[in-house]
């Protein structure tokens, strides 16, 4: 067994001898490699012109799917947004909409 | 044929029969023997009958069971004679040591027809004289060593002095009393 097996090299086709001991993961942040955005049924839309960049939506996102660059949020990371809608509720300025959300 | 000396101790929880068995194992070990010292465990209760055992041999001891046919039996509390079959399996070549002020004539009828030697010692009296308290196991240990002839007298006292000095390192004042208890018991044990 290799000394170091990166999570990125493991997938559902990996034979048993090519997994880590006890399936331990020797790197941080490996969940970014899993495209959980694919699970989404409802999709939030970022309405940039209404956004005041208050950033209230950023910390409430359970999937860290709202990227922030230079203190400004960008459009959603749809690879990881699961469409929970929490950000929609957190926005005081209607700058996030989500069709189908009650 | 038998190359192992087997001793069974009968006492009541709290009287030190287990301690006596462990001390005998200690002192026999110091003379270069192979030893075993172990109690028979159950729920531990002060005053309840307990049994402890010794095996002493020149060869490695493999047997790990209780002792059913002892060479000698030591009875730390004579009230056990009425409730426990202390002579069960006891070799008639060996003998039984009992802590009692009674005579052999009074004791013998309590021994289920046992025909071997009966040794008596007033372990309580010796203990109260030398230690000021009833610790019958110390005189009993000395008496059993004398009866079984498992080691030389002076070796025994020398080794016990070292053991006590170690055991009572934090209260050396009790060493002399314990040694005196051993010496008196060694002298006073009666055959019948």
């Amino acid at each position: 067994m290799a000394d170091f097996i990166s999570a990125k090299t493991i997938n559902e086709e990996s034979p048993w001898g090519e997994l880590t001991e006890g399936l331990s993961i020797y790197e941080p942040g490996t969940s970014a490699a899993v495209m959980t955005g694919e699970w989404r049924t409802l999709t939030p839309t970022f309405v940039e012109e209404k956004c005041k960049q208050c950033l209230l939506c950023v910390p409430v996102c359970p999937d860290s799917a709202i990227p922030v660059v230079n203190k400004k949020r960008l459009d959603f990371d749809y690879d990881h947004c699961k469409g929970c809608g929490i950000c929609v509720r957190s926005c005081p300025f209607d700058a996030i909409t989500m069709e189908g959300l009650d | 044929m038998k190359d192992t000396l087997e001793i069974r101790w009968h006492g009541r929880g709290g009287q030190g029969a287990k301690t006596a068995a462990l001390l005998l194992a200690d002192v026999a070990f110091e003379t270069g023997k192979y030893v075993q010292g172990f109690p028979e465990y159950g729920p531990e209760r002060m005053g309840a009958p307990i049994t402890a055992y010794n095996r002493i041999s020149d060869n490695q001891i493999r047997l790990h069971s209780n002792i059913y046919e002892p060479d000698y039996v030591a009875v730390v509390d004579e009230t056990l004679l009425e409730s426990v079959d202390v002579t069960a399996g006891l070799s008639e070549e060996g003998g039984i040591l009992i802590n009692s002020t009674r005579t052999e004539k009074e004791i013998r009828p309590l021994l289920n027809g046992y025909k071997g030697a009966v040794y008596l010692i007033d372990a309580r009296g010796i203990s109260e004289r030398t230690l000021g308290k009833n610790f019958p196991n110390t005189p009993m240990l000395s008496a059993i060593v004398r009866i079984c002839e498992v080691m030389d007298e002076e070796d025994f006292f020398g080794l016990m002095l070292r053991l006590y000095q170690h055991k009572f390192a934090s209260k050396p004042e009790v060493v002399d009393g314990n040694m005196e208890a051993l010496r008196q018991a060694f002298k006073e044990v009666r055959n019948g």
Binding site: W16, L19, L23, S24, P28 | F38, Y41, I61
Partner: protein
């Protein structure tokens, strides 16, 4: 230099622990293993070791703390018995599947119920399929020696599995007998430092231990765990050879006693192996061609060694100090007959359940076995197992 001493099994194991000076000991007291953490606490309080002792609130917590500490990179030790280990049940599996080389002294005691504190192997046998390595000691010397060999086996890169060193409750744990102790420094040198490659507190390598595993991964992880177990014999053999070279006492996975020309054999584990050797000697004195095989390593099971050792016998008695309720024999019986079948053995095999709840193995039992073995060798048998030493009407 070895030093002659006389100790109980619990004292001997506590001394081995002191000599090894592990990083962490989480423990919860239970008879008859209580003395081990008790003696060890003295060593901690007197500064003889620098182990972090964690007085936990239950055995479930004890094993959980072992897992956390071991995953963090510590060398970890604990001790328990019977119902205490039963309460660790879930965590035993986690320790093994997380591949953590925790070493535990299991002082074998009957499982409730009825509640009983004396020796049998129902606790150890109950945990045989948890993924732990298991060694069983015949006496206090072996309890000490097995413990010293445990970390080098468990921590080897080819293994990385937890290990249970078992000794019989009271019979071994509380009986004072002769033992050879080794020098503190020699033991430390033999066991060596623990240097894990991956651990939670490793600087610069954030790590996740025990992640959820979906169906697509679980089976592969378990297969890999079995592979690790398959490396135990080669590693344990190396460790045993190094032990023999260092300390002069030789061990193998099984011990053959008077087997050279044996036509009959008894397979047995734990303290009763010593008792049975004594009875085998008596039977040999009477001209019976009987020998004994003691199982030291039960997990992994040395099936091929056992089959090879039994290849010339006509009939074998397998001694189980535990029940299985399969109506087809106890756990050791199943292992041994499996080994015999795969070796295409023609030997007759009879399993015996004996010694439950501390019941002694007596010479009359050995004689019953001898008579039975001669009978089944000549006439065969329909039954798979028998009871020995239980009161019959």
């Amino acid at each position: 230099m070895s030093k002659k001493d006389r100790l109980s099994g619990n004292e001997a194991v506590a001394i081995a622990m002191r000599q090894i000076n592990p990083d962490v000991m989480p423990a919860f007291p239970i008879t008859p293993s209580t003395e081990i953490p008790q003696y060890f606490c003295d060593f901690v309080a007197n500064g003889k070791v620098d182990t972090e002792f964690i007085p936990v609130e239950s055995e479930h917590s004890a094993m959980s703390a072992c897992i956390g500490a071991s995953a963090a990179g510590a060398r970890v030790v604990t001790a328990t018995s019977s119902c205490g280990m039963a309460y660790m049940w879930e965590e035993l599996h986690v320790a093994a599947s997380d591949r953590l080389p925790i070493v535990m002294n299991l002082v074998n005691r009957a499982l409730s119920g009825p509640i009983n504190i004396n020796a049998d192997h129902s606790d150890g046998m109950g945990a045989k399929d948890t993924g732990w390595i298991q060694f069983y000691a015949e006496n206090c010397q072996e309890a000490y020696d097995n413990f010293i060999m445990a970390y080098p086996i468990a921590e080897d890169k080819r293994v990385h599995l937890p290990m249970m060193c078992c000794q019989d409750g009271f019979i071994t744990s509380h009986a004072v007998e002769n033992i050879l102790l080794e020098d503190d420094e020699e033991v430390k040198k033999f066991v060596g430092e623990y240097e894990p490659e991956h651990y939670l507190l490793k600087d610069g390598e954030p790590m996740a231990v025990g992640p959820y595993s979906v169906t697509n991964y679980y089976f592969e992880a378990r297969r890999a765990q079995d592979e690790a177990m398959s490396h135990v014999p080669e590693v344990a053999k190396e460790v045993q050879e190094r032990f023999a070279k260092t300390f002069g006492r030789k061990y193998d996975f099984i011990e053959k006693y008077r087997m050279d020309d044996a036509k009959y054999a008894i397979v047995i584990m734990g303290s009763a192996a010593g008792t049975m050797k004594y009875y085998v000697d008596r039977l040999r004195d009477e001209g019976e061609k009987i020998g004994l095989i003691k199982i030291r390593m039960f997990r992994p099971f040395p099936a091929k060694d056992v089959a090879a050792a039994l290849k010339d016998v006509k009939a074998v008695a397998i001694m189980d100090r535990a029940q299985s309720f399969s109506n087809a024999g106890g756990p050791l019986g199943v292992e041994v007959t499996n080994a015999l079948f795969h070796a295409r053995s023609q030997a007759q095999a009879m399993d015996y359940v004996y010694g439950l709840g501390g019941r002694d193995l007596l010479e009359e039992h050995a004689r019953t076995i001898m008579d039975d073995l001669k009978d089944i060798a000549a006439n065969g048998h329909d039954d798979y197992y028998r009871y020995l030493g239980v009161r019959e009407a």
